[in-house]
């Protein structure tokens, strides 16, 4: 039914390739809306996503993870940098052309309560992308496609006739995922997809995303602040702080062998659901808060809170080092094998 993309990917090409992505929002003041400064939300971010891969982006509020995700689908204006999707630069593309490409990249938003139009039935919500992208013409074809998609996310056909307010949070998030899947995308950008849900429902949605990936060969960009969820779902993780990627590694490597002090702090701040380790954990509680992205610190952006900062850190921004499999931007990285992010004082039984 669907027309294949004209540009085919070569086997080793990344699905998505981001180079030096920078997003600065102007701060305007006064009657003439003069630009008085910039919020430097994202600064020189580069990464690749392979077909079928899950890349997690973690970081605290204001680190630029959501701006990055939204820029990839052109919901934010890119200041500079290049984003190639399916081998084509989307930053230079006309809107009409991009709209056709957008079928292959879809977005799942955080809040399933505000992401669905309350006046439309689920069936109509799902039919919209089908109609917009001309995936089916006849009404019964559209209906069949909607029913299929609902089944894919574990809902019955009957849900097509319900309004969003009749659904629970978990069901709504399934509908949001279903709507993103109607166009059979290759890449799904999920911005905090489970944060608004109850704990027992989060597991349902995470498992659903995992199963869909296995069945449909989807690639995910999974944006979250929850370390447990990102570890569960990601193949590779990017750690962001104040608009920069400070460390990037495979999930196992990152948790076993964090090299950037911020990564260690983040891993350490996460409360472990095991009361027996709480008195043995070596806490690295850092002082202070994330500085404003409108006025980021000089040198390394983390130096104001970093436990191992020295003079050079406030002067010179560190360049990314390490390998493409595990890179980190720090003047004084933690020694290799410093070890599990969840360091404990005694041996863990």
């Amino acid at each position: 039914m669907r027309i294949e993309q004209a540009v085919a990917l070569r086997p080793n090409d990344p699905l998505l390739s981001v180079r030096d992505l920078t997003i600065h929002y102007p701060i305007r003041k006064g009657v003439f809306a003069r630009t008085v400064g910039h919020v430097k939300a994202v600064n020189g971010v580069s990464f690749d996503v392979a077909p079928g891969e899950t890349v997690g982006i973690v970081g605290e509020s204001g680190c630029g993870k959501s701006s990055t995700g939204r820029a990839l689908i052109r919901l934010e204006k890119i200041t500079s940098g290049r984003v190639d999707f399916l081998g084509r630069d989307i930053t230079a593309m006309a809107e009409g052309e991009f709209r056709r490409l957008r079928r292959d990249m879809q977005m799942v938003f955080q809040d399933p309560f505000s992401a669905l139009n309350p006046q439309k039935r689920v069936g109509d919500l799902l039919a919209e992308p089908i109609v917009v992208h001309h995936l089916a013409r006849r009404r019964d074809e559209v209906r069949a496609l909607v029913a299929d998609t609902l089944k894919t996310v574990g809902l019955t056909e009957q849900f097509a006739y319900r309004y969003p307010h009749e659904l629970s949070g978990g069901q709504r998030q399934r509908v949001v995922v279903a709507r993103a899947l109607t166009t059979s995308p290759k890449l799904l950008i999920c911005d905090e997809p489970v944060s608004a849900l109850d704990v027992s429902i989060q597991a349902q949605v995470l498992n659903l995303l995992k199963d869909l990936q296995a069945d449909l060969d989807l690639a995910y960009i999974f944006i979250t602040h929850g370390l447990g969820a990102v570890k569960y779902i990601s193949d590779r993780i990017l750690v962001m702080y104040l608009g920069h990627i400070v460390e990037s590694a495979s999930t196992t490597e990152l948790f076993a062998n964090p090299r950037h002090p911020y990564t260690e702090v983040l891993l350490n701040a996460y409360p472990v659901p095991d009361p027996t380790v709480r008195d043995r954990r070596q806490r690295v509680v850092i002082e202070g808060e994330v500085p404003s992205p409108a006025n980021p610190p000089s040198g390394c952006v983390f130096h104001t809170r970093c436990p191992s900062a020295k003079d050079i850190c406030s002067v010179e921004a560190p360049v990314s080092q390490g390998t493409s499999a595990h890179s980190f931007a720090c003047h004084f990285p933690l020694a290799e094998g410093t070890g599990p992010g969840l360091r404990t004082k005694g041996a863990v039984a």
């Binding site: 704990v199 498992n207 602040h225 095991d274």
Partner: protein, 333 residues
């Protein structure tokens, strides 16, 4: 054994609404000891916040409360509003979830911080101001003198939550109720706030009722845990026992459904099927039976009682009988 500070006994809270009488909390009983941290754990709609608002006397006027709330010899449930006001913010203080909305946006931080001490401790303006500066310093706010003259919007979320805690602790309460105090905060700030609460409760021997849905926070903070589901207590014991031998299928399911950082790769999350039932439409029998893998005809027909199966460990499930923590499938027949 520490001294008993608060005993909640057979608490029932109902709301009269257009859709009839809704029971939000049913037969909840627990004891808080001095200096101890008790965690009320559950998902949305389980009644944990209603329980805490009842303790503070902050329920809406359509609420009906039954049961006793014995706080050092006085029953909070029968107190007049005047006497209640003398307790609230003085002996019992509360920190709310949303630091963005729980401070008054048109009052300076200093005015909000000084109100309690002036009212409850009878301090004059000068002394209250000194106390306010001291409290802000204690909760780790830089340049406390200047912050007194600022408005809430000038502070970040973490700072506002620190101010909330400073306000709550300024009258040296015997009991601090914290309703999801860190849910709206970033994880490094959460670690700071939890550490702060731990320190302050240790230093002033304040008992804490911590309401949360995050089992990680429970494991870090709790001495005692009350698990709630659909308005009822389903399991209750000390934190070590709960994590070592959880009994109720809901507790077990919830623990299996959190993605753990320390779990080996490729372990699949167990999820609890279905959704939490709504108050207006509670299932008969055991309230968890619609989502429980072990449910039988008995669970549908008959509501289980909360039974202390071994000393200090109670569970509301037909699978368990007094004297044993091993499930007995025959009990379901």
């Amino acid at each position: 054994m520490a001294e008993k500070l608060l005993e909640v006994k057979d608490l029932n809270v109902e709301f009269r609404t257009d859709r009839g009488v809704l029971a939000a909390v049913e037969d909840v009983s627990f004891v808080v000891e001095q200096g101890q941290t008790l965690c009320l754990v559950g998902e949305s709609g389980c009644g944990k916040s209603v329980t805490s608002l009842t303790l503070m006397g902050l329920l809406a006027s359509n609420a009906r409360v039954k049961g006793t709330l014995d706080f050092g010899g006085t029953d909070l449930a029968t107190l007049s509003e005047d006497k209640r006001r003398a307790v609230r913010g003085n002996d019992i203080a509360m920190v709310f979830q949303e630091p963005m909305t729980s401070l008054n946006p048109v009052l300076k931080i200093g005015d909000q911080l000084m109100e309690g001490p002036r009212l409850h401790l009878g301090l004059d303006k000068q002394a209250a101001r000194e106390l306010a500066v001291e409290m802000l310093t204690k909760v780790g706010i830089p340049r406390p003198e200047a912050v007194l003259g600022e408005y809430p919007h000038q502070l970040s979320g973490g700072m506002r939550q620190r101010v909330m805690i400073a306000i709550a602790l300024s009258c040296v309460p015997k009991l601090l109720i914290a309703d999801e105090p860190t849910t709206a905060l970033d994880v490094t700030i959460q670690a700071q706030i939890l550490e702060l609460m731990r320190e302050l409760s240790r230093d002033s021997n304040t008992a804490v009722i911590l309401i949360t849905h995050d089992l990680g926070v429970v494991a870090e903070m709790a001495d005692h845990v009350v698990m709630m589901y659909a308005g009822q207590v389903v399991e209750q014991t000390d934190v070590m026992t709960l994590f070592a031998t959880p009994l109720h299928p809901y507790t077990v399911g919830l623990m299996a459904s959190i993605p753990r950082v320390e779990a080996p790769a490729d372990t699949r999350l167990e999820s609890i099927p279905g959704v939490v039932p709504s108050l207006a439409d509670m299932p008969a029998g055991c309230r968890f039976h619609t989502r429980c893998a072990f449910a039988t005809a008995k669970c549908v027909a008959e509501q289980p009682a909360l039974v202390e199966v071994v000393p200090g460990h109670s569970v509301r499930c037909h699978l368990f009988e007094p004297g044993s923590t091993t499930p007995n499938p025959e009990a379901l027949a």
